[in-house]
Amino acid sequence: MTYLHNIGLYFLMVKDMFRKPTKWSVMKHLILKDIDDLIIDSLGIVAFISFFVGGVITIQTALNITNPLIPKYLVGFATRQSIILEFAPTFISIIMAGKVGSFITSSIGTMRVTEQIDALEVMGINSLNYLVFPKVIALMLYPFAISIAIFLGILGGMAACVYGGFSTLEDFIIGIQLDFIPFHIVYSFIKTFVFAFVLATIPSFYGYYMKGGALEVGKASTTSFVWTSIMIILLNYILTQMLLTS
């Protein structure tokens, strides 16, 4: 029953988020601040992880291709496919669920504990529109971060491949150009947009509706990370089934 109640409450929150919009002159500042907090501040960790995981994917692929009949350029091909299809949109989103998700839950949760949300409500402000809506809009720039993740992941793979002596630069470049299907980028960005919405709303839900004190803020952050990750994995499966198997 609690799960059903929470699911209902979540959709009501999403609906109420669009009610009684905040003045645009105020909202634009909130959106810009959230772009800075959620996207710009995450670029460092996204770049770091993408570059090195891209390298690891390449090394693992190269080490597992032991048959001399398999061409070396397949290392580049496998790296590109792994990064575009799964690593960048899904793996990075799980990491963002930890970084951005816990930031959103704890900041909104702290506002709940210290009665700042009550203060907004008493003033007649739609606190959901004021707090959650700018985060949803800011995270619509999330595909920008994922584009960087794709680029740096492949770059990291290339560096690991060439400097690790697994294949030549030419082979790797042939591999990353081989059988390129542009729809895979579209697929990746569709997933990214859906995950961005999940990343903005589920942590906001757990922060907004939390009850208790400082300890509960920590618990809410953990719960929000778990449920955001579960939803990302579940939606990843559904979207892959829908978009790639037809």
Partner: protein, 255 residues
């Protein structure tokens, strides 16, 4: 004026507010007093519309709250100033930005007009030099005064204060009490204060309602609370030795 009629509120089948009826007059400081757990905060949050109630009605100058649409409720709330127990200042904003916040949200003032208005109210609460401080740099008393400034900046019709003296030293507590009283007189607003501070009761209690276990057990003023024979009220108000002596002296003076 706020009129409450036969208000009931429960949580998980436990009745917290049990049929309270009362009136909070315009231009007066109305106090809700009672022991911890007596339902004061729940009652205040029902008045503010933060808690939905099961039965009864609350009307603000004739407008019955439960009959209003969501947007009308939001518009009514824009006429309410609230001072929270923990001040509830926005951590990410300076003190001046906190005070200007209601103006940014509800008026079409330009920046200099908002700054001028913030100057006026910050001077009114004796915080003329605190504009650029962050809430984390302010003391408890300063935070309370900023909260009062934010509550009155948009000329509200109703001012609610949830234990405005909690955590303050006696001297600062009296300053805050007097400030609320002066602002109520000056702006002619309906002020409702939730308190269990007996100094506040004696200083500014123009109307007092006493709650016990969610029931209104007594209603009166700072003058009548000395004379009451209601044992429950006297046991609560004169629970400390000092207050017992004060009452004794008062009774002896009268005879």
């Amino acid at each position: 004026m706020i009129v409450v009629k036969d208000l009931y509120k429960s949580f998980n089948d436990t009745l917290i507010i049990k049929g309270i009826s009362t009136t909070f007059d315009k231009g007066k400081t109305n106090l809700i007093i009672g022991a911890s757990g007596s339902g004061k905060t729940v009652f205040l949050k029902c008045l503010l519309g933060l808690f939905a109630y099961e039965k009864g009605s609350i009307s603000y100058d004739g407008k019955i709250y439960s009959n209003l649409t969501k947007n009308q409720k939001s518009d009514l709330r824009a006429e309410i100033g609230m001072v929270f127990q923990g001040s509830a200042l926005f951590d990410s904003m300076t003190i001046a930005e906190n005070v200007m916040f209601p103006l940014r949200m509800f008026t079409n003032m330009n920046k200099s007009e908002m700054e001028d208005r913030a100057d006026v109210v910050l001077k009114r609460v004796n915080l003329a030099d605190a504009h650029y401080k962050m809430p984390s740099e302010a003391s408890g008393g300063m935070r309370k005064r900023v909260a009062i400034a934010r509550a009155i900046v948009n000329n509200p019709k109703y001012l609610f204060c949830d234990e405005p003296n909690s955590g303050l030293d006696p001297k600062t507590a009296i300053i805050i009490d007097n400030l609320i009283q002066e602002i109520t007189d000056e702006y002619n607003i309906t002020t409702v204060i939730n308190s269990h501070d007996m100094n506040s009761v004696m200083e500014i209690g123009e109307k007092i309602i006493f709650l016990i276990d969610g029931v209104k057990a007594w209603e009166g003023s700072k003058e009548t609370i000395f004379k009451t024979d209601n044992e429950v009220v006297t046991n609560f108000v004169y629970s400390s030795n000092l207050m017992k002596k004060v009452r004794q002296m008062y009774i002896e003076e009268r005879h």
